[in-house]
């Protein structure tokens, strides 16, 4: 199997992707699936905004609004933002550290398919009696009372996709620890790799509490447990704690990779090395650590008492310090650089003021006494969209433009890219800036309509108009993708011409084996160093030889499919006689596939030296 794409039939391509264990193809799978869910979540956002455009609107009913709202939040966080982050990590990190592959290619594929089937399962709730309707936080006092199966879909779907995320995180931890090329010390790792490393550690520690919470919830809803029902001796607040012990680190799981992406972009397009690299690393690690100490700031109004509130308030505010360090480092990276305003770079520049606004309102929310006023109002909605859209979504859009040539071998059109940016940027601030004031004026969050004559009309109308701008930006982006795919020209290794890190030293897209010869890393910004010394390629650390690769496998798909089937069975086991048997069959499929994985002796295959040499000659030539 050589890397050079032979013409393949559609069936063969699909089979290739179903069985792939190549991190670059898994990145594309994450991008497609995450992108699809992003559009779905965006559609739900548009429905919400249309409903809220005018007072007393009856575009959708109150009950349906709750479902759309819940699915919007859940989809955006778990099925759009997370997988898109994983898409970037898979596409870039192994190449950035000079590795041929991730540490566990099989697990990598398994992680994707678990996420995918979990997401599909969650969304099938729309067609099977109603979606979850207790908010993305699914507080137990609400969700235990929800009459449809929606919450059960939420619990089982997130459980499955959560396993996938956990597996993905572990894979990246081990990859970064063990697979770095010779000379790639920790303090020479690109910032995005560092961000991925810390993020993966957060995943490792943050997802287990969610898993526990979901299992408790599953017991309560489906198997007669009573962890959360006070009438039966349970405690409904436990869910809130478990959820937020996971939930707060989760927001850093999303935003640290965003910081990493922007760090790469700032350095590249300022044509300078990142200012204060070691303080950036320190800040990233510190944010990751502090992220675990602040979960209760989501629960100031629960009644934990003044001491707990005060301590969690101070702990939260402390996170502003390392975050501030980062902001200044980015500014100083640009200072005195020769800046190029490419599409990724304008996202990066726009990110700074947008994210700072979100950070400032974050410190406001952290002021426990004041939070009694902000809590559950549109002020909070404005705050978290400023950090999530202004931080994470901007970063994902910037990263997509930045690494698109590396993933697909063609540059997205810069003009259309800038159109997308301006539509999205203007729309974003129109939509969410005004919501700060709506919130301060008393408009509650998660309510399906508002009454006329309370001063909310203009603000909501502006907000809806802004949402249409963002939708238009997204449409332009899709058009850009199609046009580029059809008409774009192939590009070489380093299409931005200022690439600093190893991924720009290999052809676009990278060959299956990434590096014909493992490179020797001689400092931070390894490729830049070589370029500055007038060299074309990297310094190799080994002679050219046969390259060992893992075999593709359908088993990750089958393992995940089994859990998907099992979830259906157990979800309906109280309603239909077929429930339990189907559940058991699903588990057997999963366990059977795992059994085969254990007994089949799979040694992978070799790409022979001659094939590598030929591919290198034909490809752009690394």
């Amino acid at each position: 199997m050589s890397t050079l794409a032979r013409k393949k039939g559609v069936g063969a391509v699909i089979w290739d992707y179903l069985t792939t264990v190549d991190h670059k193809k898994i990145a594309i799978l994450y991008l497609i699936a995450g992108g699809f869910f992003f559009l779905l979540g965006g559609l739900e956002a548009m429905i919400i905004r249309i409903q809220l455009a005018v007072p007393n609107n009856d575009f959708i009913s109150a009950g349906f609004y709750n479902e759309v709202l819940t699915m919007h939040g859940t989809t955006m966080i778990f099925l759009a933002a997370m997988p898109l982050v994983f898409a970037m990590m898979n596409a870039v990190v192994p190449i950035q550290i000079g590795a041929r592959d991730v540490a566990f290619p099989f697990l990598n594929a398994l992680g994707f398919w678990l996420f995918f089937f979990g997401g599909v399962f969650l969304n099938l709730s729309w067609f099977l009696g109603g979606a979850p309707d207790a908010g993305w936080t699914s507080y137990a006092s609400l969700s235990l009372a929800s009459p449809t199966h929606g919450i059960d879909f939420y619990v089982l779907g997130l459980q499955i996709s959560g396993f996938g995320t956990l597996i993905g995180g572990i894979n990246f931890l081990v990859t970064i620890i063990n697979m770095r090329a010779p000379g790639m010390t920790y303090m020479r790792m690109p910032m995005f790799t560092w961000a991925t490393f810390v993020t993966s550690a957060l995943i490792l520690f943050a997802f287990p509490p969610l898993t526990v919470g979901l299992i408790f919830m599953m017991m309560d809803r489906l198997f007669g447990g009573n962890f959360f029902d006070p009438a039966l001796g349970g405690n409904t607040i436990i869910w809130e704690h478990l959820f937020w012990i996971f939930g707060h680190p989760e927001v850093y799981i999303l935003v640290l990779p965003a910081f990493g992406i922007f760090s790469e972009i700032f350095a590249t397009f300022s044509r300078k090395r990142l200012f204060g690299y070691s303080s950036m690393v320190f800040a990233t690690v510190l944010i990751g650590f502090l992220g675990f100490m602040v979960w209760a700031h989501h629960m100031f109004t629960v009644g934990m008492g003044p001491i707990a509130n005060a301590i969690f308030a101070v702990a939260t505010m402390a996170i502003a310090v390392p975050t501030g360090i980062k902001i200044f480092n980015w500014l100083f990276t640009m200072w005195g650089g020769s800046i190029r305003f490419t599409t990724p770079m304008i996202y990066a520049v726009a990110f700074i003021p947008s994210f700072v606004i979100g950070g400032v309102t974050g410190v406001m929310n952290a002021t426990a006494a004041a939070d009694y006023q902000y809590h559950d109002s549109y002020f909070v909605v404005a705050h978290f969209h400023y950090v999530i859209v202004g931080g994470v979504v901007f970063a994902l859009l910037a990263g997509a433009h930045y690494w698109w040539p590396k993933m697909f071998g063609k540059m997205l059109d810069e003009k259309l890219g800038k159109v997308t940016f301006w539509l999205f940027f203007i729309g974003f601030h129109l939509t969410f800036f005004i919501q700060h004031f709506l919130g301060l004026m008393g408009m509650p969050r998660r309510v399906f309509t508002f009454l006329p004559g309370q001063g909310f009309e203009t603000g909501n109308m502006i907000s809806t108009v802004g949402a249409f701008f963002m939708a238009a930006g997204t449409v332009v982006l899709l058009a850009n993708v199609v046009i580029t795919t059809v008409k774009g020209k192939r590009v070489g290794n380093d299409p931005w011409e200022d690439g600093r890190t190893l991924e720009w030293a290999v052809s676009s897209p990278a060959p299956e084996y990434n590096f014909a010869q493992t490179p020797l890393v001689r400092g931070l910004d390894a490729y830049w160093i070589e370029k500055m010394e007038g060299k074309k390629g990297l310094t190799p650390a080994e002679p050219l030889g046969d390259i060992h690769m893992p075999n593709p496998s359908i088993l990750p798909f089958v393992i995940s499919l089994g859990l998907f089937v099992a979830a259906f069975g157990f979800l309906f086991h109280q309603d239909y006689a077929w429930g339990t048997p189907v559940g058991v069959v699903g588990l057997l499929i999963t366990l059977g596939a795992m059994f085969f994985r254990s007994i089949i002796d799979d040694h992978g295959f070799h790409i022979h030296k001659e094939e590598v040499m030929e591919a290198e000659k034909k490809g752009a030539g690394a």
Partner: protein, 110 residues
């Protein structure tokens, strides 16, 4: 990775390795004996009428911690070189879990 594989030199001082292994074996046997001993004490602490639960429960927990340390360091070779990162993650996780539980016990109380 090439830079991580141990170079197996057949001429590496066999005697040294043998001595090292013997020493390791001794540690394992000693800690194994200790672990059995600690387990017996744990059973005794629960069975003995004279101790109240307020003593025996923390006491058993303490013994458990000691056993975990024996297990990790003598049987799973965490004392060897090259285990710094697993140790970092282990202690990092333990610290995060400890702080969380500590917060519950001191200020939150659910």
């Amino acid at each position: 990775m090439a830079n991580h594989t141990h170079v197996q030199n057949p001429k590496v001082d066999v005697q040294y390795r043998r001595k090292k292994n013997a020493e390791e074996m001794k540690h394992q046997i000693v800690s194994f004996t200790l672990m059995i001993f600690l387990t017996l004490i744990a059973f005794f602490a629960v069975g003995y009428e004279g101790f109240s639960a307020w003593f025996s429960v923390p006491f058993i927990l303490l013994l458990a911690v000691v056993q975990v340390i024996f297990q990790l360091y003598y049987f799973m070779h965490m004392s060897h070189k090259g285990h710094e990162l697993p140790a970092l993650f282990l202690y990092g996780g333990a610290l995060v879990a400890f702080v969380t539980i500590w917060a519950f016990l001191t200020i939150v109380w659910i």
